[in-house]
Symmetry: C2
């Protein structure tokens, strides 16, 4: 690790950190250069521990005190990582948000494993169909990892778990649980079925079976969670072995409170999914 003082936001060496708040631009930039951004010493440390190589780090002058901890995180890497130290206002103008909370790191992505490789030897899988909100994806990864789900599988269009906000909300849990992305949506579940997973589609629909009762029997379970607005597609509900629901309070339904948000539902479902039989 070596510190490099940079005075201007236009410096080419800072290109990885440009316009971090522009999701559209970032999606292109990160895919093209195979990178992602982690924030804060704790999360950066977890990313490094999970084996992601650091391209560089960015530190506002106000947070120079973080250097020793960052150095410690990087010790395992045997790599000469540049730490760009910039005036705080330059850091903020560059990234579009406040950096006084700590360091940023740009890390290299790794090739994602195939679905069969992450689900091969495991029992409890969560499958996310087309979630749009990066914060929700991060929060669900945090639940899944903390509670002991074995792996996460994403539909082709599901939001990226390594996007900055997902990484941040997950508190680094996106590095702690194996995940893979399906290559096709329409037949994406076939592979899980063929591997002996019982597919449970979570829905707020009253007619679905209570989830707790559906979990006891099966040895391999894949829980399907749908997008924030519309829930699971008809295709995936049809493909599932069973649709399941978290029981709601009838009085609340009558008052119009008839569902949980996707993270709360995922938390409860992951908890039930990971209970010992």
């Amino acid at each position: 690790m070596r510190t490099v003082e940079i005075g201007s936001a236009g410096d080419d060496r800072l290109a990885d950190y440009t316009r971090l708040t522009d999701a559209g631009l970032r999606t292109h930039l990160e895919a093209e250069h195979g990178l992602f951004i982690a924030e804060g010493t704790k999360v950066i440390t977890r990313a490094v521990a999970a084996g992601y190589p650091v391209r560089s780090m960015l530190l506002g002058r106000a947070r120079l005190g973080d250097l020793p901890a960052l150095g410690e995180a990087c010790q395992s890497m045997r790599q000469d990582v540049p730490v760009f130290v910039v005036p705080d206002d330059v850091a903020e103008s560059l990234t579009g948000f406040r950096v006084h909370r700590g360091a940023l790191a740009s890390l290299s992505r790794r090739p994602l494993p195939a679905v069969r490789d992450v689900v091969g030897a495991v029992r409890r899988v969560v499958v996310l169909e087309d979630l749009v909100d990066h914060g929700n994806v991060g929060a669900i990864f945090r639940c899944a990892a903390a509670l002991g789900v074995d792996a996460v599988v994403l539909s082709p269009r599901c939001a990226d778990p390594l996007y900055r906000r997902a990484v941040k909300v997950s508190m680094g849990a996106v590095f702690a649980i194996p995940y893979a992305r399906m290559t096709g949506w329409y037949d994406g579940l076939a592979e899980l079925k063929a591997s002996g997973f019982r597919l449970l589609a979570l829905t707020p629909d009253d007619r679905a079976a209570p989830i707790a009762g559906a979990l006891c029997a099966a040895s391999r379970v894949a829980l399907l969670l749908g997008t924030e607005g519309d829930g699971l597609s008809a295709r995936w509900q049809d493909e599932a072995d069973l649709t399941v629901r978290i029981p709601m309070n009838p009085a609340a339904r009558a008052a119009g409170v008839d569902s949980l948000n996707v993270v709360a539902a995922a938390a409860i479902a992951c908890h039930l999914l990971t209970q010992p039989d």
Copy 2:
């Protein structure tokens, strides 16, 4: 209901809607005038159905199509509610955020009931200590209401459930579940204890008892949830009958994922709390 065209953001009649994004200012304004803001036809309808009187509504021209549904919501009120119709740019400059999503309504608060009145005849209560984030408060109300918790009790400094963002995130669940605010923090739990509630303090602490096992026995349970950063105060943990935890995956703990966010934890705890014995 009668529509009133207003052309300028400076018009005194729009005072309820000024600077909605300024939390500090709003806290004063709303307390002083005893009002709160609800967004969108669905949530406004729920507030009206719960008995909150409407002071006025605000509609950008682009959303004039919402008028019939809003009129329907107000029918029960027998009240002459002004609906201020303003150009979209005026609405946005006034409120500081995009109003094309629908109407805003300013509603009157009602005196909060005393703690003893909301917990008097119920079995399952959630108690929030000093939560700071309005979104988290709203999300926890949504979980509590949807899953069938009977009432919510707030510490004196806990964020306001009727603040705009809390109302929005709750999807109107803040109107669907009775709640009260303690008058004192230090002795706030004494009243619940005296009413025969078993107090369970939720913590990520490894040494606490698994929550599921702690719930079977007691007939009246109050679940204590602490602030986002520091968790429950030492005082409240001492006052509790038992500290409880949601079991975490040991491998995740080793990788640094050692807790759930407060909403995910609340969702799981509310689910367990409301299971039939």
